[in-house]
Subunit: 333 residues, 2 copies
């Protein structure tokens, strides 16, 4: 049932030259043993390209040639569109009405056909289109191929820091943390893997407490600024991985997410979307609740509206521990 290290290694082979081998960046501004895995530096701005591309790569040639379908208005939409274009096959992406026009345009710019449906119909519409047209459906997280692809993030972390002790990973549907935890625990069993969720979208944290998946309606999860972490519950296959491999799931506040976005921009010169900043927020503001040692935060993506990032940068930082916020300089030296 669980994705194996061999499957993740096979994904890494498929992704060579396609996914950016992202740097594990030391971040001494946040502590001596802390580093950020910058998945925001993928061409589509998020880790999602790993799972989507690997899923397409493992399809039989004849099946892939007919094309693929997916449902998303977020990073998965662009990931599937980008992967399909790389293989030269058609992609149909179901994007719910109400999604941002810029996101629709970006998906179309990658050559995908975009189908708009009412939000409630998105998943059934994608499945129906796939069945009608003979397309292969690429799920965002509840899929062993997708989990194996995302797991290459974990492989790279242990390659770069073989003695890593703690890995912090954002959690939504759970595809990323499933793959990362499977890789990290196989290669470095003593390392601990923690999920991080916004307190306003803490369905997986609550699921772990209860011992079974719980469902948070959209009215609840849509309160968080972290738009990429609004899943209502962990996916079926991710839930198996989370139970097997994840030590715990922490939560962070909206203010902590904003502060982490600001620190990442000023001190690591990285643009993080809110979802991308939650793991760093957990380190900065809940580090005392974590085991000691070498700690990595996965910065999962950087697709943030410029106006929101501007608002966060313009705010006077409430955090007095922000001496390294760069100020105006006036010399060529």
């Amino acid at each position: 049932m669980l994705v194996t290290l061999d499957e993740i290694r096979a994904a890494a082979k498929n992704l060579a030259g396609v996914a950016v081998r992202t740097p594990l960046l030391p971040a001494p501004w946040a502590g001596p043993d802390f580093a950020v895995k910058a998945e925001s530096l993928q061409v589509i701005g998020a880790f999602k390209i790993r799972g989507a591309y690997h899923a397409l790569a493992t399809l039989p040639d004849a099946e892939r040639a007919r094309g693929v379908a997916a449902s998303s208005s977020g990073n998965h939409a662009q990931a599937v569109a980008y992967a399909a274009r790389s293989f030269g096959v058609p992609a149909v992406i179901v994007i719910p009405e109400g999604a941002a026009p810029g996101k629709v345009a970006a998906t179309r710019a990658l050559g995908a056909e975009v189908v708009r449906v009412p939000p409630a119909d998105r998943d059934t519409a994608a499945a129906a289109i796939a069945a009608d047209r003979g397309l292969a459906l690429v799920p965002p997280y509840d899929d062993a191929r997708v989990i194996a692809g995302q797991g290459t993030v974990g492989l790279e972390i242990v390659e770069d820091w073989p003695d890593v002790d703690v890995v912090l990973v954002p959690v939504s549907g759970g595809g990323l943390i499933s793959g990362v935890a499977a890789a990290v625990k196989a290669l470095r069993p003593s390392a601990r893997v923690f999920g991080v969720e916004p307190a306003l979208a803490a369905d997986t944290a609550e699921s772990l407490r209860r011992g079974e998946p719980v469902f948070w309606p959209a009215e609840r999860t849509y309160r968080t600024i972290a738009d990429a972490l609004r899943a209502s519950s962990p996916g079926r296959l991710p839930w198996e991985h989370i139970q097997a491999y994840v030590d715990d799931v922490l939560t962070v506040t909206e203010d902590e997410i904003r502060a982490a976005m600001r620190r990442l921009a000023t001190d690591a010169r990285l643009v993080a979307e809110p979802a991308g900043a939650v793991a760093t927020a957990a380190h900065l503001f809940h580090g005392d609740a974590l085991p000691p040692g070498r700690r990595v935060a996965v910065l999962s993506g950087g697709n943030v509206a410029p106006a929101l990032l501007a608002e966060i940068l313009a705010a006077d930082p409430a955090d007095p521990a922000d001496p390294a916020g760069p100020a105006d300089r006036a010399d060529p030296g």
Copy 2:
């Protein structure tokens, strides 16, 4: 006289595990054969750590143990302070009065002693302090060791893209482009290396036209937003390298610099300071004046005041060719 490939390779050995091996990031949003060398991802936010650390590494042990001195209120100040701390030796940094308090604090936070002097006295003060206290002076660019260190940027570019055709490099005192051009021309003689300056600080471009170094007073160079590119003329040793290796120096406008900063933040998720964005600006807005082929822009640094970055992000982009500017998303997919 000119720095050799062997000297640059020796610098690369010294810098292993110290400087971040920065990624050469494909940037398809700006063309199919364009990539950004993200030196903003160095721990101090700029390439300067390469030259400063290598300069300290090549000092005789006894000399280095007495400590080092430098004059800067910019990225070089933090680079020398960081390198000195790495070696456990004292650093005295002369920072002119009027420099930003945040920059002074950041240099002190790295353990350096900061000496404030009137701006006109900065270089003489640093030399006098070095002589009085027996410290080794680390110049920002007019130094073969510093040029060799910065040249490792060029080594890495050719390692990652052996068939690179055009390399665009910001120019101030000229240390970075000297090292990069020496490395690139040695390894790939057919490649062309271009400098980029703000039109408001185009002392090196004018020097090349005239065939001799010209001097632009601070009243002129200080008009540009690119605070790290306000040198008054190319350094003596850099000028030799520029004449030998650099194909031409282009200029960009202030609006082009701002637009490139915005695109780098939204489409590459990279925080660039104004100086760091000039090479990308040359590609985006003056690409027709450049030879065809695989093109790299060096993003030299990301130490920008949060308020300035916020202002640039909040501006409605005048550039209608900005479809990929990420917008709000509202799904977990």
